[in-house]
Amino acid sequence: MEINIIKENETSIVAIVGRLDTVTAPELEAAVKPYINNGASIVFDCEKLEYISSAGLRVVLSTHKLLAACAGQFVIRNLNTEVKSVFDITGFSKILNII
């Protein structure tokens, strides 16, 4: 899995490439953590995200909660069909800002 983070204006765009599973989820978490601070705006770009498991979901949820707690913004975009279906099944689609 690869993570590329670029800054676009004030927003940090986190492009996740590959599988977000039990093994790789911690990496994402570690990579995103520095960017979570007051009023931060983070975008998870999942265009190249092939697969997500519950571990990945957990990271997404915790990121959401942390940002919510410090008045940040969190957006998830470009989910592919399979991945989106996972978000749907788990009801994450409803609680997250998915575009």
Binding site: Y51, S53, G91, K94
Partner: protein, 780 residues
């Protein structure tokens, strides 16, 4: 208190000081004793001489007086003889004697009875002094018949002049007198005796005045030992020296008294409480003897005194010496205790501990310098050690990484060809060190399995590097090559090239054609593999050794081939197996290996390898593994007897890293079963959740265990069985999350199993024996 006293006593300062004290004291005692001895001898001699000379002087003076009296009397005797016919003239004579000699107090001319017919019985003209005048009288009276007096009778009987035994003067007043009697003869017959009386007063005075020593006393005795001079005045003329001797029982005094009375001169030692000397000498004229006594203590008083003085000065002096020595030594030694302190500090790890500054003497300076040098050495040594350790740790961690890399080079996934039902293979490589020199590899191409097993000479990093090269090279050169010897040759070329370290590698390369069942092989110095027939007969594959790789580039390797029947086990191994040593250096050996393989021939390659491995471990017991152990077991399966059952199995470790294996497995499964992509995705997700759950929670932390996933494809359903030997856990019991909750309200957990349940048609949990079995069914 006792402790500190012990310390004081054993301290160097004390010991040394006491030693010095002992030596000095002994020396001093010897010197003083010797000096004292010789002083005493000297003093003794001197006092004896002194006493004797004093005695002699006194006697001389007494003698002088006595002699002068004798002379005087003899002188006037002539006058008497001249005037014999004139009796009255005798008064003149006696008076003259008195006039001429002041110490004569009385003089008489005593005649024999009736010498002068008319003068009667007692004619004895006598002159005497009274109140400064010289008076006359007749000595003899009725009451005083002088003829029987000692002074008359004795010289008469002895026929010679006689000094009388001293007597108390008639007049009283305690005056002792002695009378010199001089007999006169006419025609041989005594007719008169001239007398001269003298008082002993002057003599007694002289004797008494002899002063030799403070406690000395003097005495004079007469012919019978009667005391004439004695400090005890009552004894005078009253007691004899013999009586005193008898009273005190002193034999020495007794003998001395005899000697004195005999007119001898000498010195006697006697004891009267303490040792005393008695010096005695005779007054020949009268038969008296004068003695002077000195007490031992007096003689030696001065010497003893001096000795005492010396001691009195010396003793405090010695004491002072001891104390000074003690202090001095202690002071000098103080740096030592400070050095001890510094040493303690250094021992604690504080290498820069301060050293005592005191470099007062050579020894201390040397000590200081040595200590200082030691400090610096320690410091640099420790620094070096730290660097070395850090390096070592670095190397070790790198080695660990290298191992991972190495292990990554050899196929690790078993079964490697789950899709094929004609072959099963299992391999195990346990390096002796972190990294090893053993290698194996296999791949299938064009329905042929290419296999290699190799052993690089040596162990560790060097061998592992060659192993890495060889491994990579194999895949490259083996592809599309039909002759094993060609593969071997290529490898040999490569390894022989630039092989400066002369590392070689034994190898066995085989190509197993599944269609024909023929194994073509080329051995390069390696252990011949073991073939176990489908009846369980184990034997060594006949091989031509050829030459190990990397030695000789030009070597011509030969091929061989053999037909492999279905059901045959081919067992490849390195010499780490058959040469596994027990603690008494006994090798595991070919025999045992053959036997074991034969025993378990029916088992799967994995089981076979594990069996061999168990035996090796048992054999080795506590012995250290000194060579890499590599085993590859391959079974040519009988496809015909296989049941038409598509069963796949995946074994994972409880390490989330093996999730990757799962992904591969699912991918293959999807491919073979031609599942739609979303199905594959979903399966992957569900299985990952189930498996990761088990991986995370089934087993205790840090322990490596297996998790087995099997899948059966049957009538439009895929039945997955996930089993583990962990603690009993029923994932189905976990509460499903409430997906309707908001993000804030959502809990992190429980999602996994939710997904599984969601994706799979059914999820069932069984606990069988010690295994958790989760059965998931997926509808195709």
């Amino acid at each position: 208190m006792k402790d500190s006293r012990k310390r004081l006593l054993s301290s160097l300062s004390t010991r040394l000081s006491l030693f010095i004290l002992a030596v000095t004291t002994t020396l001093m005692i010897v010197i003083v004793a010797l000096n004292y001895r010789s002083s005493r001898d000297l003093v003794e001699k001197e006092s004896i001489e002194h006493a004797q000379s004093v005695l002699n002087n006194t006697i001389l003076r007494i003698d002088n007086v006595l002699n002068s009296v004798e002379t005087a009397v003899q002188h006037i005797s002539l006058m008497v003889l001249d005037n014999i016919d004139n009796p009255d003239y005798m008064f003149e004579v006696t008076r003259l004697l008195l006039e001429k000699n002041s110490y004569i107090s009385g003089s008489a001319v005593a005649f024999e009875p009736y010498f002068y017919k008319d003068k009667g019985l007692f004619y004895s003209p006598f002159s005497y002094r009274e109140n400064g005048n010289i008076l006359d009288k007749q000595l003899g009276t009725q009451d005083y018949d002088y003829h029987y007096m000692d002074w008359y009778q004795i010289p008469k009987l002895l026929d010679k002049p006689y000094w009388s035994e001293p007597y108390f003067d008639q007049g009283g007043a305690d005056i002792i007198m002695t009378t010199y009697s001089y007999p006169l003869y006419i025609e041989g017959k005594l007719f008169a005796i001239i007398t001269a009386d003298i008082s002993l007063e002057s003599f007694t005075e002289q004797v008494n005045s002899i002063q030799t020593y403070p406690n000395s006393y003097n005495l004079m005795i007469g012919r019978g030992g009667t005391y004439l001079v004695n400090k005890d005045t009552k004894a005078i003329l009253n007691k004899t020296m013999f009586e005193d001797a008898m009273e005190s029982g002193d034999d020495v005094i007794f003998k001395t008294a005899h000697d004195m009375v005999d007119g001898k001169r000498g010195m006697a030692e006697y004891y009267h409480g303490e040792k005393s000397y008695l010096f005695y000498a005779p007054v020949h004229a009268t038969g008296w003897s004068v003695a002077v006594n000195c007490m031992h203590s007096d003689i030696f008083a001065k010497v003893d005194d001096m000795r005492n003085r010396v001691m009195m000065v010396a003793l405090p002096g010695l004491l002072l010496l001891v104390i000074l020595c003690y202090l001095l030594i202690k002071y000098t030694m103080r740096p030592l205790t400070e050095f001890a302190q510094s040493a303690l500090e250094i021992a604690k790890g504080n290498f820069n501990a301060r050293l005592p500054r005191n470099k007062s003497n050579y020894e201390m300076r040397t000590l200081h310098n040595s200590f200082s040098h030691m400090q610096r050495s320690l410091q640099s040594y420790i620094d070096e050690l730290q660097i070395t350790t850090a390096n070592k740790e670095r190397i070790e961690s790198e080695l660990r990484i290298a191992r991972d890399i190495q292990m990554g080079m050899v196929p690790k996934i078993f079964p490697p060809f789950p899709e094929r039902n004609d072959v099963d293979l299992y391999a195990k490589l346990i390096p002796a060190k972190e990294v090893g020199g053993d290698l194996y590899d296999f791949f299938i191409e064009d329905n042929k399995m290419y296999i290699i097993i190799g052993d690089v000479s040596g162990k560790g990093v060097p061998a592992s590097l060659v192993m890495a090269v060889t491994c990579r090279l194999f895949r490259t050169v083996a592809s599309n090559v039909l002759d094993p010897s060609a593969i071997v040759k290529s490898l040999n070329d490569a390894l022989s090239e630039s092989n400066e370290s002369n590392m070689f590698c034994t190898a066995f390369v085989g190509i197993l054609d599944f269609e024909t069942g023929i194994l073509r092989y080329c051995n390069a110095g390696h252990n011949p593999p073991i073939i176990v027939s489908n009846e369980g007969k184990a034997s060594l594959l006949p091989v031509i050794s050829n030459l190990a790789l990397g030695i000789w580039k030009e070597f011509d390797f030969e091929d061989q081939e053999i037909k492999i029947e279905k059901g045959t086990n081919i067992f490849l191994y390195t010499d780490g197996v058959n040469e596994a040593e027990s603690s008494d250096k006994e090798l595991y050996g070919e025999e045992r290996m053959l036997q074991c393989l034969s025993n378990h021939y029916k088992k799967s390659p994995k089981d076979i390898v594990e069996e061999i491995f168990k035996e090796i471990k048992n054999h080795a017991r506590n012995a250290e593994q000194n060579d890499d152990i590599t085993m590859v077991c391959c079974t040519l399966l009988d496809t015909d007897s296989q049941t038409a059952c598509s069963e796949r199995k995946l074994v994972m470790r409880n390490d989330i890293a093996d999730i990757a294996l799962l992904a591969d497995f699912v991918e293959k499964l999807s491919e073979e079963s031609q599942l739609p992509m979303d199905a594959g995705f979903k399966l992957n997700l569900a299985l990952e959740e189930a498996v990761s759950n088990v991986m995370k929670y089934a087993y205790p932390e840090g322990e490596e265990h297996e998790i087995t996933l099997t899948v059966k494809i049957d009538a439009g359903k895929m039945i997955f069985e996930l089993s583990d030997t962990g603690k009993p856990f029923d994932p189905t019991m976990t509460e499903a999350p409430d997906v309707t909750l908001s993000a804030e309200e959502r809990s992190i957990g429980g999602l996994g199993i939710f997904l599984v349940k969601n994706i799979m048609q059914s999820v069932e949990y069984h606990r069988v024996g010690n295994r958790n079995i989760l059965v998931m069914k997926y509808k195709l």
